[in-house]
């Protein structure tokens, strides 16, 4: 049976890529079997956060920047707090930083599970969505929803609300939860951990195309912990630098097709942040059960296949659940729940790991405590150039597929990176000043 091959000439246009956060489109132009052009277009309308943050009080960014993204508000809140505390030369207690990590674990669990079960898994079954997936495997989807719910619950108990938590402030928390509040979550977290272990085995049975990538990977690294809430910025190219020095190494371009900016290393090289980068640069920091799951799943250390990020996200869900249980077991309620911060005229930097990659904030404060300049580098504007590299790779390797299959493949190649287009739109001061 002959189907229309993509090897002839064709345009693939996907307006409104489904099952991603935010609004993006995909354009591929193939001429006589030759790939002429690939563009990931971001038409998410700009919202100008960096502009209107100027003149706001130094204590406001956790509430305001949370609104950049409903899926990863904690990532914005945490990077904002670190950057402002850095500017004000303030240091929070270990207990406060640990409680932040616990809140962040909740976000990792809900966001990763959302992606693995509701957004990504349907691709591996050729289905349109998780509702269809539930028709053939209701048990799997229900387990996913159970895990997602406990992630949200953890955010509610620590953060006061799952979407746009209200309990986070510069310097710590308005109120720290009691040990009892947290212990009430333990049974469900343990159940979720069992499901997450099962999930790593389940997703490992999916069929993965053989794609290998070579762009540099960049993630936070830490002496003892799998990076979530803190660390320095390292890459497979060998650098390991502070968030400030990292910003000096990237240049953002503004291209016509996008309301997001493309970040490249030294202005030239596409790079990737997110689960594949963290997994590769922090394999030795995987928590014990996650490490066992990684070995059992057969995923090799150093895996560079972006389709296998679904395994990596599942492993990181195990990490977040193990970490949540460990933190609750050893929990010491921070007292006081926050440190008083005195604003000063200075610049501060903060970097943490959102579920989909590194997020860096930089603030310049005036002596009046008002923000003079704000810069926010979200993961998807960093990953956009690498995603386009993946698309070229996928298309070059699959010219013999018919057009519909190739379109599905391309969409999956975008979803591999869980792009948060709402986050990516309209960021970064691009003036080529570095």
């Amino acid at each position: 049976m002959e189907k229309e091959k993509a090897t002839s000439s064709c345009d693939i246009d996907v307006h409104g890529i489904a099952r991603v956060e935010g609004e993006g489109a995909l354009h591929v132009h193939i001429d006589n079997g030759e790939l002429k052009n690939v563009e990931l277009e971001i038409f998410e309308p700009p919202r100008f956060f960096e502009a209107f943050l100027r003149g706001r009080g130094f204590e406001e960014p956790p509430d305001i920047t949370a609104r950049i993204c409903g899926i990863c508000p904690v990532a914005y809140q945490m990077s904002a707090c670190l950057a402002i505390e850095d500017a004000c030369s303030a240091k929070v207690s270990d207990e406060i930083q640990t409680l932040r990590r616990l809140l962040y674990c909740g976000e990792w669990i809900q966001s990763h599970v959302l992606h693995v079960f509701l957004l990504h898994a349907p691709d591996f079954f050729g289905l349109e969505d998780a509702v269809e997936l539930a028709k053939i495997n209701r048990n799997a989807v229900e387990r996913g929803l159970f895990m997602k719910k406990i992630g949200n619950k953890l955010m509610e108990v620590v953060g006061g609300r799952a979407i746009h938590p209200v309990n986070v402030k510069v310097g710590g928390f308005y109120t720290a939860p009691t040990k009892q509040d947290l212990e009430a979550l333990v049974d469900d977290l343990k159940q979720a951990l069992e499901y997450a272990v099962w999930a790593t085995a389940w997703v490992s049975t999916f069929e993965f195309p053989d794609i290998v990538t070579s762009y540099p990977l960049v993630s936070l690294v830490h002496d003892t912990l799998y990076p979530i809430d803190c660390g320095t910025v390292a890459s497979t190219e060998g650098f390991n630098v502070s968030p400030k020095d990292f910003l000096d190494r990237i240049v953002e371009e503004h291209v016509a097709r996008s309301s997001a900016l493309h970040a490249k290393l030294n202005g030239e090289t596409p790079y990737l942040t997110g689960p594949m980068a963290r997994f590769n640069l922090n394999y030795d920091r995987l928590t014990p059960i996650a490490r066992e799951c990684a070995e059992a799943s057969g995923i090799e250390k150093g895996c560079r296949n972006p389709f296998k990020t679904i395994i990596m996200r599942s492993l990181e869900t195990v990490v977040a659940l193990e970490e949540a249980l460990r933190i609750i077991e050893n929990y010491v309620k921070p007292d006081p729940s926050f440190v008083e911060i005195t604003a000063k005229a200075a610049t501060g930097y903060g970097a943490t790991e959102a579920p989909r990659g590194i997020i860096v904030h930089r603030y310049v404060l005036g002596s009046d405590g008002l923000i003079k300049e704000a810069q926010i580098v979200p993961p998807t504007s960093q990953n956009q150039a690498a995603i386009e590299e993946d698309l070229k790779n996928v298309i070059a390797n699959n010219m013999d597929l018919d057009r519909e299959q190739l379109t599905n493949y391309c969409e999956t190649a975008v979803r591999n990176h869980d792009p948060c287009i709402s986050c990516s739109a309209h960021f970064l001061n691009v003036d080529i000043k570095r």
Binding site: A18, R19, F48, E50, A51, C69, D129, S422
Partner: protein, 253 residues
Amino acid sequence: MGKAKLAVWKFASCDGCQLSILDCEDELLSIAEAVEIANFTEMTRKVTDGPYDISLVEGSVTTANDAQRIVEIRKSSQTVVAIGACATAGGIQALRNYADIDEYLGAVYAHPEYISTLTTSKPISDFIKVDLELRGCPVNKEHLIELVASALAGRKPRIPHFSVCEECKMKGNVCVLVGQKMPCLGPVTSAGCGALCPAVGRGCYGCFGPVKNANTASLATRLKANGTDPDKIRRMFKTFNANTKAFEREFSS
């Protein structure tokens, strides 16, 4: 009769309100059985043409293209519900309405000419007739379920129309404004969140927008008397629901 067709549409927003639908973990599969999800890009590749029985609209209108798109959505929908602070008030991105948009573009983009944007961010009701508005940044997911359930049953949804103060009393929170002189927008803010902020020991920051007949001037006077810096009071009103008459007059005067 077939299943009711539900569509979810996104405009300028953070995706948090539509995420609230996916956050209904216990109800999601039942909702998908009770209604036909005919358009919901964040959840499914499947797209079914209109007409739609219920359209949930997230986000504000900030581009010329979106100003046309919302009119088309109105034409193909029996009931249009605006969900969240962006759709009901313009959202935090409405701060551009009080600034110079060209200066904003220059501050964020190297090539402002690549960007097509309106000078304002406005709520859905500025462009079309909206049948119902759900407040909140983000909306309360229980209100969303109540809304869909009531629409299916053909009755009015039960959504609170009083202030956060009353929610605080019901919850037994000690008043942070009277007791600790904390700046709090609870007296002028719509209920719906469950008085979350006073419960963790901070003042309400108004993310559900103004309650009907909000006496913001009186509250601002009280906050000043309590020693809150007047500039800070102005900034408190100038956030997620800035582009509402009640809040606007407290920072633009």
